[in-house]
């Protein structure tokens, strides 16, 4: 793992350019450009707020902040996984011709989504101020939570981008799986809404430990419990270690399967 990481570090200029490329390409095609990153979650939030507060009459105070604070990390995870699974397949012609650490492509893609997440935190803060939910000092845990989220997601994406080379239906399976996972993760409902036993089962979902802290920091205004942060850190490191191991074991075969 240390070897993979130091190899990636040597190519950090390439990683930076790949991240910049992802962002440029994503925004060059849209009229609104970067503003879209901020508008998109706001629109989702408005829809969810309308449905939950007015149609389903769910009683959650400051629902927009409640939902947005968990939706942003979830979106980061889901979009990274969907896009990241395809990074090896999409960069085939480069992999065929140039010798670079191959893991740089999935890593750069996840990182470009991290930039998006940071941008999307701006409208969240605006919504908070408008609704009178002031940012609290609990946010000092934010850098840690972002790093843990990035690390965990990168590990998952390394595994999926490897499998996508060998099995053609991984992308479809991932999509279905993410839909299920979205409802299994407390994004549009509070974890406290669930009965005690169910809650214990839901706590087996690793993604919970990366989404829930954001809600606690932004919405509840408190520092997430140290035990939860420790679990998140452990899961993140385990995910990255497994991801790199799977990737390294298989990467020399990528070109045999891509055609």
């Amino acid at each position: 793992m240390r070897k993979s990481l130091s190899e990636l570090w040597r190519y950090r200029d390439l990683a930076r350019l790949l991240v910049a490329k992802e962002l440029k390409l994503r925004y060059r095609r849209s009229v609104l450009g970067f503003a879209w990153t901020m508008l998109n979650p706001l629109l989702t939030m408005i829809i969810l707020s309308a449905v939950f507060a007015h149609v389903l009459r769910v009683q959650v105070e400051h629902f927009p902040v409640f939902v947005l604070s968990a939706l942003l990390p979830w979106n980061f995870f889901a979009q990274s996984v969907v896009g990241g699974s395809l990074t090896i397949v999409h960069n085939e012609s480069l992999l065929r011709n140039v010798r670079v650490p191959r893991a740089i492509f999935p890593v750069a893609l996840v990182t470009s989504h991290l930039v998006n997440l940071l941008l999307a935190l701006v409208p969240l803060l605006l919504v908070m101020i408008v609704l009178g939910v002031p940012p609290k000092p609990g946010l000092i845990a934010l850098p840690y939570c972002l790093l843990a989220l990035w690390t965990f997601t990168t590990g998952v994406v390394l595994v999926l981008s490897t499998w996508t080379v060998f099995f053609r239906d991984v992308a479809q399976i991932v999509e279905v799986f993410l839909t299920a996972l979205f409802y299994l993760t407390p994004v549009i409902y509070p974890l406290s809404m669930l009965p005690e036993q169910t809650r214990a089962v839901f706590r087996l979902n690793p993604v919970l430990y990366f989404v829930e802290p954001f809600r606690q920091m932004f919405y509840e205004g408190r520092i997430p419990a140290a035990s939860d942060l420790a679990i998140a850190g452990g899961l993140a490191v385990a995910s990255l270690a497994i991801g790199l191991a799977v990737f390294r074991r298989r990467e020399h075969l990528f070109l045999h399967y891509l055609s």
């Binding site: 390439l14 350019l17 490329k21 065929r96 140039v98 670079v100 099995f167 053609r168 399976i173």
Partner: protein, 255 residues
């Protein structure tokens, strides 16, 4: 290692065997794979031997030509030298920086401008941004694309992107340059400049491996040549002699 005496050939290929897994029809789906695994069926992919025990060396200042019919293993050899494939057996040792001219411009992103692609490609070759800034103007000038450098590459002609690719790959100052069938693109004047640059490159003691169907070029440009057939080297010697053997019918796919 740059300190190695100049008598050690910088490119050393020994007994290389390259087997590919023959992926039939389309790739397996994860669902099928799981079902087979549950039934205890073991899927063993068929192997295809693209190279069957190739050995050669290339010295400092030498240009080696690799010729052969389609499917003889030329491109596989180049990819192994470029380090993007790992040999099934045998070893490949290369001293110094290797640059490939395979598929010129294939690595370019069509949506990005020529200039953005220069920086990206430079980083792919392992250069820092600062190093690339020093090379940028020279690369653009050699490619003759000063007035098009901010245009997205998708609007380039194939000749333009090939020119940019060549300018890039040779300006990064590799120790070993690997050239695939690529100089056919671009006009005669540009080709002449390319060969001029490769000649000077060789005179400065650098190594070139050249793969081409263009026998006249191999004959005039390379010192030595290897003729491949079905993944084996069937003739090795002076470029003149090997090209003559190939022209006389040796190593043709149907021979």
């Amino acid at each position: 290692m740059k300190t190695a005496s100049s008598s050690t050939p910088p490119v050393r290929v020994r007994d290389v065997v390259m087997e590919f897994r023959l992926v039939r029809e389309s790739r397996l789906s994860l669902k099928e794979a799981l079902i087979r695994a549950l039934r205890g069926e073991r899927t063993r992919p068929e192997q295809f031997r693209a190279l069957d025990g190739i050995s050669f060396e290339v010295a400092h200042g030498e240009a080696l030509g690799i010729i052969g019919a389609n499917g003889s293993g030329k491109t596989t050899t180049l990819r192994l030298l470029a380090g993007v494939l790992r040999p099934t057996e045998g070893s490949i040792e290369i001293d110094g920086r290797v640059t490939t001219l395979i598929d010129l411009g294939a690595g370019f992103n069509p949506e990005l401008s020529g200039g953005e692609n220069v920086y990206l490609a430079g980083a792919l070759y392992g250069f820092s941004q600062a190093e690339m800034r020093g090379k940028f103007d020279r690369i653009v000038a050699f490619a003759g694309l000063e007035s098009f450098i901010d245009v997205p590459v998708k609007n380039y002609s194939s000749g333009m992107s090939a020119r940019l690719g060549f300018a890039l790959a040779t300006d990064v100052d590799p120790d070993v340059l690997i050239v695939d069938e690529v100089l056919g693109v671009g006009d005669a004047e540009f080709q002449a400049r390319c060969f001029d640059r490769m000649r000077r490159f060789r005179e400065s003691g650098k190594t070139i491996v050249f793969v081409s169907h263009d026998l006249a070029t191999v004959r005039s440009f390379c010192d030595r040549a290897i003729l491949l057939r079905h993944g084996r080297s069937i003739r090795e010697g002076s470029a003149e002699e090997v090209v003559a053997a190939y022209e006389s019918g040796l190593g043709r796919a149907d021979s």
